[in-house]
Subunit: 325 residues, 2 copies
Amino acid sequence: MIDAAALDANLRTMAAALPGARLRPHVKAHKCTALARRQAALGNRAFTCATIREVEGLVAAGLGDDVLLANEVLDARRLGKLDARVTVAVDSDATIDAAAAGGVRDVLIDLNVGLPRCGCDPSDAARLADLARKRGLTVRGVMGYEGHAMLLPDRNARASLVAVAGEQLVAAHAAVGGDVVSTGGTGTFDLHTAATEIQAGSYALMDTAYAKLGLPFAEALSIVGTVVSTSTAGYAVADVGLKALGMDHGNSAVFPLHAESRDGAQVWFFSDEHVTFAPEKPVRVGERVRVRPAHVDPTMAYHERAYVADGERVVDTWLIDLRGW
Amino acid sequence: MIDAAALDANLRTMAAALPGARLRPHVKAHKCTALARRQAALGNRAFTCATIREVEGLVAAGLGDDVLLANEVLDARRLGKLDARVTVAVDSDATIDAAAAGGVRDVLIDLNVGLPRCGCDPSDAARLADLARKRGLTVRGVMGYEGHAMLLPDRNARASLVAVAGEQLVAAHAAVGGDVVSTGGTGTFDLHTAATEIQAGSYALMDTAYAKLGLPFAEALSIVGTVVSTSTAGYAVADVGLKALGMDHGNSAVFPLHAESRDGAQVWFFSDEHVTFAPEKPVRVGERVRVRPAHVDPTMAYHERAYVADGERVVDTWLIDLRGW
């Protein structure tokens, strides 16, 4: 269930802070073209994707003005077939060759700016840009994702790592050329000074992990479940389990459906189909609860559809149509 | 990717140990009617489900001889509409009322046998059975899931908890009546003496958690990925992430596609779309890897289809068609 008012406020706050092409919303966090349309309607029409399926889905939905696959692929043929401006991240000879062979025209040189994941050593960026141009590709600039900074609770700590990443991006950009410096995420959206665009996604729906950072975005997503069993031993069981939630950021939080409190119940454990929790006040079988996910991205990837609600009234149903690969 | 030979051996081993109605395969572990058909073809034709969608899907696939929803529901109307023998677990007045109101005819009284989740206090089983009969329901017997025993590494420790659960099931069965005592899982499939049927599911595809127990079942499931980036710092990155794997049982294991070794690479971390790992031998960009999941159930729930392979040759594609709710 998506709280329509919270989502709208999140999208407007971000669009005001990063208007137009200054924000390149990352659809991996919601996987929903209906939500992407809301982002586009507020002016943020250039998108970031993590999978080929997400790129294809955005283009099919008419949202293909300028789509970046911020991820490396070894087979770019599905991207090359699309009638849209598609840019792909490259960080090696092999990914450059794959982009050229697949018929993609635009690339960004992806830098490792401190997170041990994709991205070339910044000192290799100029060589890769030259190679890409030799292969006939347009090098639009550089990108780098400082994921190691994203969820640090201290804003100053995030800012320090962003500054280091920013220096690397600026230096590589000078060597690579092009007009794009793409970086960042929800936790660092207002900390970058050198970026031309920010790749934030979680800000739209948020989760309990990002909620701890004191950002100007509210949790808009709940999984609504039902209490299916109670015990005199002080616990209750609701039908929201591991197959409904991303679990890598720790336990999600369980609340009564109408709770104003932000404290939630004490979660004992999640299993495949259930959460066992100790409610603050006794609950009865049949009562509804809301579970706020700890990690929005893998949570959305489990669900077929989202119900958009004004209070408790469902006003829209959105397919989560960018799932899969 | 499902290894056809390993799956076949797992299904045959279990069907020999628990023939016909002695096994009630749990489809929650694979969510795939094509795989359920294999189980039925070996004689295990009565199934266990965790969701209403799983029951509906089995019935639509012609596998509705005798389907148990081993879970509590507060709205049974979709179950009552099915033209099949559907039994539902009940553990409270409210779930009995829901079964009767929804048009379900058969129930099992679900006992708490030590896992703090669903199931009534065993001392309440006779009263609930009487209530169910007053509501016009047929009480087929009792069930109870000893999930707290399932993954204990020591077989004797599992056997001790199974013995305690078994005593509770036998006592409640004497008070409740009916001819079904349904319990157990893959970790305890050969430890029950009082059960009429065992609800095992993970044995078919297995995972790294169950593989530690020394059971006569082999890991048949891999997520096949591609190395998309490498680093001179000793790590590599493949495109298998949190959205492709259940993560609650710890990190899954990464292997070269053709590895005979069971040691695997050292996993640094999984993120939404990637695994960062330290390969034993250097790997190159474009090389395939196989990731063995730590928890089969939430892994299958992320994927649209499985490729059944004889060695590396794909011989069939199965839809994972029982996902969702």
